[in-house]
Symmetry: C2
Subunit: 327 residues, 2 copies
């Protein structure tokens, strides 16, 4: 590969001249500029990205850290992040935190290969984040409670979402309402649960431990949890799944047992993923402003990078999407 040196030699100028010419500085005469550009083209020269980043201690790229690149559920969020970043001339890369301390995400975070990061991944520890966070390196965490001078939290009001979902069920006359949670580490899941429990209390209904089952945000988890629920004998009147994926698994379990939705049991999900409206019956659920969350996160990063003072906490609200899975 040709380096800047080769270009300089071929063009018969100094290395710095090449650098200036190629980076569009004004102080180079059009003639030499042409000469340099010609030489560069001739050698098929491309600057080495590291070298310049090393020098400038800035990469102009932001990392979006996801727990698993293959998950299709980040789509809207990613879109928000992406649009804002390209609009501001920043590069965006997505990397996975799969593999824990050895993961790509950890590497990029720790070795400061990026200028900032947005993290939506539970399999990356608070510790790693705190170690990496520092002045001038903005980190935004989504769905995570983490107080630190240098990290900023963006969250959806999951308490409200959980409350609204439960209230909707109650208003439809449903009283026995089960809750299938997400993984224990999920802050989101916890808050949804709180919303659920609070709604029950507010309407003077029992919060019955028997109807709280642990899931894990996966379809299989929802399926298994629902099987357990069915196995318990008596069924609740409604089930609130902490996310849509689990609701889908649950619906499958009900259908296999000839339990009709919503006639025999009502179900409500959370997220409003693409699939939700295509289910039979279409799934009533809580929509999260994912696009907005992504866009906001990226905005905050850019502001921080620009030296603007920002809040350390942001909350977005949810919306109930009524479809056919609730009586």
């Amino acid at each position: 590969m040709a380096t800047i040196k080769d270009v300089a030699r071929l063009a018969g100028v100094a290395i710095s001249t090449v650098s200036y010419a190629l980076n569009g500085s004004e102080k180079i005469s059009p003639a030499t500029r042409e000469k340099v550009i010609g030489a560069a083209r001739q050698l098929n020269y491309q600057k080495n990205g590291f070298a310049s980043d090393l020098k400038r201690t800035k990469t102009n790229t932001i990392a979006l850290i996801l727990s698993d690149l293959a998950g299709p559920y980040y789509s809207e969020l990613t879109k928000g992040v992406q649009e804002v970043s390209v609009a501001n001339g920043y590069d965006l890369i997505a990397c996975s935190s799969k593999g824990g301390p050895l993961s790509t995400a950890t590497k990029f975070l720790k070795e400061k290969r990026v200028d900032g990061a947005i993290i939506l991944a539970h399999n990356i520890s608070d510790e790693v984040i705190v170690e990496s966070a520092r002045q001038g390196f903005p980190i935004i965490v989504l769905d995570r409670h983490l107080e630190n001078e240098f990290v900023i939290q963006v969250e959806v009001d999951n308490f409200q979402g959980g409350f609204v979902a439960t209230e909707h069920l109650i208003e439809k006359g449903l009283k026995d309402i089960a809750f299938i949670s997400g993984p224990p580490r999920s802050h989101d899941s916890k808050m949804r649960y709180k919303g659920y429990a609070t709604a029950l209390k507010e309407y003077k209904l029992d919060v019955n431990g028997k109807w709280e089952i642990h899931g894990d945000f996966t379809r299989e988890g929802g399926y298994r949890a629902t099987k357990m629920l069915i196995a318990q004998g008596r069924l609740p009147e409604a089930v609130f799944y902490a996310n849509d994926e689990m609701a889908i698994g649950g619906i499958q379990a009900f259908q296999e047992n000839k339990i009709r939705i919503p006639e025999d049991i009502s179900v409500i999900g959370y997220d409003d993923i693409q699939l939700a409206e295509f289910m039979t019956p279409p799934l009533t659920t809580i929509r999260q402003p994912k696009y907005e969350a992504g866009a906001l996160a990226m905005h905050i990063i850019l502001q921080q990078l620009a030296g603007v003072e920002v809040n350390s906490y942001y909350k977005l609200s949810t919306e109930l999407i009524t479809r056919k899975s609730v009586k």
Copy 2:
């Protein structure tokens, strides 16, 4: 941020000693090693990724280039790519080619910030790819026809897929079969069309230009194309959509016009995306071995990086998934 220099100073040794100790070289005594590690920990030292990459001219990371990070349809493929890469200790980053020559993808490719790339994106030109391809920098292209000494093509046998889909329709007694294509630049779409046309010919059926409509692989595109089809007056007996997304849009259009599937018209898609089985009716389609394609692509890269000679072309075959959208 602490640098290697600071660690050396604190530990009271030379910089090279720190480097050796931290990189696990044998020539350092356990005692000094401990001292160094202690100092590093104390300073919360993290090496600067660029600097070492710059020196070693190797990044240990592979880029997966997608036309749009937000598209949820790469899920399976990404999974294949990811699993193979982590299993081999390589880092993987996904980047978008949105933005053409200024995109993150182009930058990473040209400025050699990665050791290799897998490209599944039509909005990145052959030219950019060819310019970047060179000895020792493996590039795999998916769904693209590009002959070059340094680029390797992995493709799914779309001709076969198109043929099988069409043949299935014909075997069900359907004769008037429309084809909704993808975007003109898509090599995949073209090959599917060829399979379609060939099947028609082989069964002595007319290839009727009136029933070939241009789509763009999006749901909206499928919807619009279908509206056009309906507007033409007489309906075909079946429609072969070049991908599932368009089929979904198409089904919606038919439903809005009270045209029943499969009673009034049969539809077949292509891809077998997640949604396909949840449609009403569940969509008959052609499954592509996407996971395998991703895993294969990554394997090839690793082999190349290891200096193994590899073929320059790979083809994978498809599978017909029969559900309820064909009479």
